[in-house]
Amino acid sequence: MIRVIDLDKSFNNQLVLSNISVSFEPGKTNLVIGRSGSGKTVLLKSIVGLHEIDRGEIWYDDILFNKLDFKAKKEIRKEIGMLFQGSALFDSLSVEQNVKFPLDMFTDKNEEEKTDRVNFCLKRVNIINANKLLPSELSGGMKKRVAIARAISLNPKYLFCDEPNSGLDPITAILIDELIKELTEEYTMTTIVNTHDMNSVMKIGEKIIFLSDGVKCWEGSNKEILYSDCTILNDFVFANALAKQLKSSLK
C-alpha cells in the first residue's frame, strides 16, 4: 500500500500540488485523473521520488519514503516499475536489452536465467519475435508493452503508469488497460495510473482520485463517478455532448 499524507509541491514558488492525502491499495488499479496541467504527473513523480516534496509524507507500506537517504530509497526503487508517458525505452538498446536492463543491474542471475525472464515478460505482454528490434522500429502500442515488460521484469510490488494509453488508438488503449489490470491482480501490485482517458476510467478504475488545479476534489470508484454531484468532476467526465446526454439520462 502507498499512502500520501498532506503533500505539497511547488515549482518556483508556484504551488502545483496542495494538501494531497490519499491511499493506494494493493491488487487494485488506482487511477489519478484530471485535466492536463492538473498535477497528475507531478504527483506520480513526487511519489516515486523524482521530485522532492515541500511538505507531507509518502509511505510505502510502513516505510516513510520521502525521509530516506539515496541508498535506502534505492532499495525501495528496486520494487518499483514505472511506465512513462513516452515509454522511455533506451534508444540504443534492443527490446531484449531494454527488458534485461533491470536484471543486469540488480540481480545475480546468469545469462540463461535472464533471457528466460526476458522472454517470459515479453510473452506476458504479447510481444513475440521482436527481441532484436530497436525502440525506433516499434509502433506506439508495442513500445508501451515493452515498457510494461521492463517495468515488471523484477516482479515489482508497485507499478506506476503515466498516461499509458496517450497517443494510442482506442482498441490498443483498451488492450494496454486490460494488461495493466491483469498484471495488477496477478502480482497483487499497488498500481497507480495517471490518465485522462475516460474509457480507462470506466474500464479499470477501481479507485479513482480526481485532481483539479493541484487539489484533490473527488475520490471514488468507476461506478460512483457516474452519479457524482461534484460539478468540476462532471464537467471533466461528461465533457462532450453525448456524455452530457448520458449524464442527464442517469439523473
Partner: protein, 247 residues
C-alpha cells in the same frame, strides 16, 4: 556572477555523483567498451584526415616563410615536428573533439533527459549520472591520448608527403629535421594536455546535456553550449598547462 557560481556548484555536485561507487562493475565495463568504440574509435577517421592536412600545411608554410639560404632546410622538418607535437596535435585535436564528441554527448544526454530515459533510470534506482557519464569519461581519458599519438604520427607523415611532393625539402633533410634535438618530454607534455582536455570535453558536455529542460530546441542549445564552453576552457587550460609544464 551568482548564476555562474550556482552552475559551478551544480557541476561539482554532478561530478561527485559521477564518481560514486559503481553499482555493477561489469555493466560499467561493458558500457565503457561501447563508449571506447563510439567516442574513441569512431573519431580516428576525422583525426587522421585533419592531422594529415594540418601537417602538410605547417610544412609548406614553414618552408615558404624560411626561404633563406642562411636557414638549413632540415629546420622545416624540425618546425613541423615541434609545432605538431607541442601545440597542434593536442590542442587542435581537442578542439575538433569538443565539436564532434562534445556535441554528441550533450545531445545524447539531453535527448535522454527530455524523453524521460534518465528519469526511468532514476526510478529503477540506478545512479544515472554515474552510469551514463563515468564510462564516457573513462573512455575519452583512455582513448584521446591514442588519438593524439595518431595525430602526431599522421601530421608528421602529412608534412613529409607535402614537403617532398612540393619539392621544398628532400626526404633526407625532413627525416633529419624531425630527429634533430628531439626532446621526448614534449610527447609527455602533449599527452598530459590531452588528458586534461579529454576530461573537460566529456564532463562539461555531459553537464550541459544532463540538466536540459524542455524539448528539442533546448537540446540543440545545450549541444552548442557544450561545444563553446569546452572550447573556451580548452584554450584557457592550454595557456595554464603550457606555463606550468614548460616554464
Amino acid at each position: 556572477m551568482i548564476k555562474f557560481l550556482t552552475q559551478f556548484g551544480h557541476y561539482f555536485l554532478l561530478l561527485k555523483k559521477v564518481f560514486s561507487k559503481p553499482e555493477k562493475p561489469y555493466v560499467y565495463y561493458k558500457q565503457t567498451m561501447h563508449e571506447l568504440v563510439f567516442l574513441g574509435l569512431n573519431s580516428v577517421g576525422i583525426i587522421t584526415v585533419i592531422s594529415f592536412f594540418m601537417g602538410a600545411v605547417i610544412t609548406l608554410q614553414t618552408a615558404y616563410n624560411t626561404e633563406n639560404p642562411i636557414y638549413p632546410t632540415y629546420l622545416i622538418g624540425l618546425g613541423c615536428r615541434d609545432s605538431i607535437l607541442l601545440e597542434f596535435s593536442s590542442t587542435i585535436t581537442a578542439l575538433i573533439l569538443a565539436g564532434k564528441v562534445g556535441s554528441n554527448i550533450a545531445s545524447e544526454l539531453g535527448t535522454m533527459r527530455v524523453t524521460e530515459q534518465i528519469d526511468a533510470l532514476e526510478t529503477m534506482g540506478v545512479n544515472s549520472a554515474s552510469y551514463l557519464i563515468l564510462p564516457k569519461i573513462i573512455a575519452t581519458l583512455l582513448f584521446n591520448p591514442i588519438l593524439t599519438l595518431i595525430s602526431i604520427s599522421v601530421g608528421i607523415f602529412g608534412g613529409w608527403i607535402a614537403g617532398t611532393s612540393a619539392g621544398v625539402i628532400t626526404s633526407e633533410d625532413f627525416v633529419y629535421g624531425i630527429q634533430y634535438a628531439f626532446i621526448p618530454y614534449y610527447v609527455t607534455y602533449a599527452i598530459i594536455k590531452t588528458l586534461f582536455f579529454a576530461f573537460v570535453i566529456t564532463s562539461v558536455s555531459s553537464f550541459q546535456g544532463y540538466f536540459v529542460e524542455g524539448g528539442s530546441l533546448e537540446v540543440g542549445q545545450a549541444s552548442t553550449r557544450a561545444v563553446v564552453y569546452s572550447s573556451v576552457l580548452i584554450l584557457l587550460l592550454n595557456v595554464i598547462l603550457t606555463q606550468l609544464l614548460l616554464s
